[in-house]
């Protein structure tokens, strides 16, 4: 007789399996309840003014009517040069950040630099760089260098060091240690272990992080002008202040198309590099 017949099966105690233990189930329900409370609580504190909320659709429609048709003549006058400047700010800022972040990333990677104090120092620089928004960096650098593109480049660079450094040092820490061990065994000096053991492993990650940051920096440098750090944001700020909505509309459309184009270019490049 088959050992797995229904009769013998029924004789056994039922075997049950639950994904979570009772304690885990209670814990999970608590998280759901607390999340619901948090949502209700925050909705009550943001103090929505109902009147403004009700006529929001009308206001939005009105804004679009003021923007259209765009003031096309404004493009050659001011927008084009500002756009080029935005590109320059983003690209130079990214390059500067790459140069500064690369050595720091090697210091931060615990498998390459076996000194906790240096690891910590590099991590600290990354965290400081990332904890400050580009706009805040821009305010600082406008105060130091005065308004203009230089302040923009510096603020983009300082914000990007942390981003590039953190992601690249993580890629370094994930590098396989086998090839590094093999090169150590050949008697290669440390600099060569870096160049021939680590770098070939992390090179795709490096270019991918660099491209991603350049893509983000194009978008960020578009608003830096709001605090006077150069680029297309300066023109946007001026048009907003003058309530020239047809110019504002044009600038927003230009920023949008630039972001779309860089997105396409960077994903094409990334697919090619890796």
């Amino acid at each position: 007789m088959n050992a797995l017949s229904p009769v013998t099966q029924a004789a056994k105690p039922p075997r049950v399996w639950h994904r979570f233990t009772p304690a885990e189930r209670i814990g999970r329900s608590m998280v759901y309840v607390l999340s619901a409370i948090a949502v209700v609580w925050s909705l009550r504190t943001i103090e929505v003014i109902p009147e403004f909320l009700y006529d929001a659709p009308e206001q939005t429609a009105d804004l679009f009517r003021r923007m259209w048709p765009f003031d096309w003549a404004f493009y050659p006058e001011q927008v084009h040069d500002a756009l080029i400047e935005t590109f320059h700010i983003a690209t130079l800022g990214t390059l500067l950040a790459l140069v500064l972040a690369l050595p720091l990333a090697f210091l931060a990677a615990r498998n390459f630099t076996r000194n906790p104090a240096l690891n910590w120092l590099a991590q600290f620089i990354f965290v400081s760089s990332r904890s400050v928004n580009s706009l805040i960096w821009a305010l600082l650098f406008v105060a130091i260098f005065g308004p203009g593109a230089l302040a923009g480049v510096m603020s983009i660079a300082f914000r990007s060091i942390g981003f590039i450094g953190k992601l690249f040092s993580e890629a370094l820490e994930e590098a396989q240690k086998g090839p590094v061990e093999a090169l150590t065994a050949t008697g290669a000096p440390r600099a060569m272990i870096l160049v021939k053991g680590y770098w070939p492993q992390v090179e795709p990650a490096f270019w991918s992080v660099a491209l991603l940051r350049w893509d983000i920096n194009i978008r960020e440098s578009a608003v830096l002008g709001l605090v006077g750090a150069g680029g297309i944001g300066v023109a946007l700020d001026a048009s907003l202040n003058n309530l020239y909505w047809d110019q504002v509309g044009l600038i927003l459309a230009v920023i949008f198309s630039v972001v779309v184009v860089t997105e396409i270019v960077t994903s094409w490049l990334r697919a090619r590099l890796i």
């Binding site: 093999a182 090169l183 050949t186 008697g187 070939p200 492993q201």
Partner: protein, 265 residues
């Protein structure tokens, strides 16, 4: 091996190429993986170290080129105690010891010839390696070696990650010879390969040892391969040497002592 003999300095104690004296390694204090190992390796032939997993074979071989730092003991090689070397002196001593790994440890995204040339990284000036301008002699030798390990020169420009396991191990062996070593260490060089390829790789290493007179020390858990290709077998069990002699002398009683139990024999 008597205590008195092993206490002598290797210069008087033996004419061997490599002399290990009282080598001890503890990863955790009080739990030695290697207990007082003393060995002499001759300047020729294949020496196989056999033993069960976790018995310290790999640790022993890695202590020799200091990928692992020994807790105490001496490792005499070409007139220097490797256990005491540091910094540049250690780096220069390592150039004379090639190593072949179980997982090949090639740099996957570099070409075969660059992997072979990386055996020269300890010799060439940094700028040459950085700009990939290796001396013409080295490049010529690298091509010869790729041919000698049975790959053929058209493999030179292929990327290492396009090769099969056996092909990768051949590149690993070429890289080790490229160092012009006085000794080659091989840590389970066949364990990731199929039986046929394992035999081919062992054949290649035995041939290299013979033709280029480079002594090879191989960690291997396959007793049959060890018997077939080694002139000397060292059996290890629980961090100690329990057999040291010719393949012919290795009997079932020794294997029982090395691996424990007898059902598998």
């Amino acid at each position: 091996m008597t205590h008195a003999a092993s206490a002598a300095t290797p210069a008087e104690g033996s004419a061997g190429l490599l002399a290990i004296r009282h080598l001890r390694k503890e990863y955790r204090a009080g739990q030695p993986v290697l207990k007082d190992i003393s060995l002499d390796i001759e300047g020729r032939g294949v020496t196989a170290i056999i033993g069960p997993s976790g018995t310290g074979k790999s640790t022993l071989i890695r202590c020799i080129n200091r990928l692992v730092d020994p807790t105490s003991g001496e490792i005499w090689f070409e007139g220097r105690d490797l256990a005491r070397l540091r910094g540049d002196a250690l780096r220069l001593a390592r150039r004379r010891i090639g190593m072949v790994f179980q997982e090949y440890n090639l740099v996957e995204r570099l070409s075969v010839i660059e992997n072979v040339l990386s055996g020269r990284l300890g010799y060439v000036p940094a700028w040459r390696a950085f700009l990939r301008r290796f001396p013409a002699d080295d490049v010529a030798r690298a091509f010869d070696l790729i041919d000698a390990v049975g790959l053929g020169e058209d493999f030179a420009t292929r990327r290492a990650d396009q090769l099969s396991g056996g092909q990768r191990q051949r590149v690993g062996i070429a890289r080790a010879i490229m160092q012009s070593p006085g000794l080659i260490l091989a840590d389970e060089p066949t364990s990731s390969l199929d039986p046929k390829t394992s035999v081919e790789i062992m054949e290649l290493m035995a041939q290299i040892s013979r033709e280029r007179s480079i002594p090879i020390v191989i960690n291997i858990h396959n007793v049959e391969l060890a018997r077939r290709y080694a002139q000397r077998i060292i059996g290890m069990s629980r961090g100690e040497v329990v057999y040291d002699g010719s393949p012919d002398g290795l009997g079932d009683s020794h294997l029982k002592e090395i691996y424990g139990g007898e059902d598998w024999l």
